[in-house]
């Protein structure tokens, strides 16, 4: 899994039928220090995350498991909303940091 910021929503009308009713979010992965790490990506949401929240997401086939038995053709999925995290160097993120 990786840490990420939710930076957007995706709206798609014409899509694989298995995506019906599934929210698509744009994520910016971040490192433990909160800095952006790598390219943004699109992920399915199964926990009710929204723009501005810090989340963690899973990559690979396992991203479709929350929608079982529907086989959603995804390779990334948000599986948790983060309250806060901390590192050996101090607080990595707490709600006051939200932007």
């Amino acid at each position: 899994m990786q840490l990420a910021r939710v930076i957007g929503d995706v709206v798609a009308t014409q899509k694989d039928p298995a995506f019906s009713g599934v929210r698509l979010l744009v994520l910016q992965p971040v490192n433990a220090d909160g800095q952006d790490a790598g390219r943004p990506l699109v992920a399915v949401d199964s926990v009710g995350a929204g723009v501005g929240e810090r989340v963690f997401f899973v990559r690979g086939k396992e991203a479709s498991f929350p929608f079982h038995p529907t086989e959603v053709p995804t390779d990334a999925g948000v599986v948790g909303i983060i309250d806060h995290w901390s590192t050996v160097e101090g607080p990595g993120f707490s709600p006051g940091d939200r932007r």
């Binding site: 433990a32 079982h68 050996v88």
Partner: protein
């Protein structure tokens, strides 16, 4: 599997039910030499690892799910061992 340093932990209330009771740690991958290597990642802990420890982590869904012991777990990484020592030939 990779070598990684445990650098932190994540607290999350709203999450998929398979994560209930699981410890979610922030890892910094390391080269065997101890150099940092790449971006940080999250892994569930099945061996009781803690901050500052060098661990072995699997980066594959099926293996990570087995470490968690729950069916259809949406996980892709798990800590499966705590490293006592790494001996390198060179």
């Amino acid at each position: 599997m990779i070598l990684a340093r445990v650098v932190g932990e994540v607290v999350s209330t709203q999450k998929r039910p398979q994560f209930e009771g699981a410890k979610l740690l922030i890892l910094q991958p390391e080269m065997p030499s101890g150099m940092k290597s790449g971006n940080s990642l999250l892994a569930i802990d099945s061996v009781g690892a803690g901050r500052g420890e060098l661990v072995i982590a699997v980066l594959e869904g099926r293996a990570a799910g087995e470490a968690l012991g729950k069916k259809l777990s949406p996980v892709d990484a798990a800590i499966v061992g705590i490293v006592d020592a790494v001996d390198l030939a060179e």
